[in-house]
Amino acid sequence: MGVMIKVGMADLKVCKAPDNLTTLGLGSCVGASIYDPVTKVSGMLHCMLPDSTKIANNQNRAKFADSGLDDLIADMKKLGAEQSRLVAKIAGGAQMFAFSGNNDMLRVGDRNVEAVKAKLKALRIPIIAEDTGLNYGRTIEFYSETGNLIIKSVGKETKTI
């Protein structure tokens, strides 16, 4: 068994089998797990906001879907991943509070999911599984050996996608 590497909020990490990746308590943020099935290099991004170009204060590139995914892929290539082989599994983007109304602050989970999908499409990385939206938090674990993404939520059964 390898180690379980923790990815924080607005953070990204890469590893190679037998090591694994986890991020705890995803809410409206999105956790993107990307994987090269041949070299078993994997990477995980926990991003908070959709677009680095819309925000002035953007030193932390892992905070955003667009710049975070760019950096994640670059780090994975350094470990021996091949971009044409990469596949993605994404989770998160929940709406934690059941608001009514159209305040833009509230749809941030959806917008994060849309931004991650758009960026992955631009990078030509297919999404092979997802568990996004709804109204509850998720802890995710990505296993580099099998490519399985395990999703745990409060009061719900553990899912493997």
């Binding site: 909020m9 995803l26 908070m48 929940a94 509070f97 941030v108 802890t139 409060v154």
Partner: protein, 206 residues
């Protein structure tokens, strides 16, 4: 361009936000005390500026189950305010409100408990915002409270994302309420929009 730089802890603005937090939490404690009709002491709130990575740790870890109560702010100040307590503390608060002994219960909340918690959020949130409003002479109206019981990391992602638009840190006010039988650790998070920060500072002559 906004005057606010939350990464600069030495700034006057940061001191002002801390002080607003102190006064607001004090008012909220008084409101809580009146509601449960017992004397409630409050320890001096801890005001901290935390990086996103450390944020869940201070409340006991990203996977700890907490109750988050959130209200939207409108009027002169746009944004949101959140009050967060851990699940056992929330049960104890409800018990006291219902005139029962705190039970240190860890079970799921029933309908009545949930609506009691919403009311608690409403009252202490209102008291907190009232103090901000009278301090700045700004009109702040609040929405009904929204409640969520989930992992701390997931609940905190909501305010963290808003702070993320401004910088890489979040302002957290931890207040500890004490009464004879128990203590309740509560966290206040005030999240004005960037423009509203400027209005608050402007109103205070900064």
């Amino acid at each position: 361009m906004s005057k606010l730089d939350l990464n600069d802890v030495g700034s006057v603005q940061f001191d002002v936000l801390k002080e607003i937090g102190n006064i607001g939490a004090g008012n909220a404690t008084t409101a809580l005390s009146q509601m449960i009709n017992t004397k409630v002491d409050m320890q001096v709130p801890k005001v901290e500026l935390l990086g996103f990575q450390e944020l869940p740790d201070i409340v006991g870890g990203a996977e700890k189950i907490v109750v988050g109560i959130l209200v939207n702010l409108e009027g002169d100040v746009d944004g949101m305010m959140m009050f967060m307590v851990d699940k056992v503390c929330a049960h104890n608060l409800v018990d006291i409100l219902m005139g029962k002994k705190p039970s240190n219960d860890d079970s799921d909340f029933d309908e009545i408990s949930l609506s009691a918690l919403q009311e608690i959020g409403n009252i202490i949130g209102g008291a907190y915002l009232n103090s901000l409003s009278s301090l700045t002479n700004l009109v702040i109206t609040e929405s009904i409270p929204y409640l969520s019981v989930d992992m701390a990391g997931a609940i905190l992602s909501v305010p963290a994302i808003e702070f993320g638009k401004i910088g890489d840190k979040a302002l957290l006010i931890q207040s500890r309420f004490l009464d004879d039988d128990m203590s309740v650790d509560g966290f206040f998070i005030l999240i004005p929009t960037l423009e509203s920060y400027d209005k608050i500072f402007g109103a205070l002559g900064l």
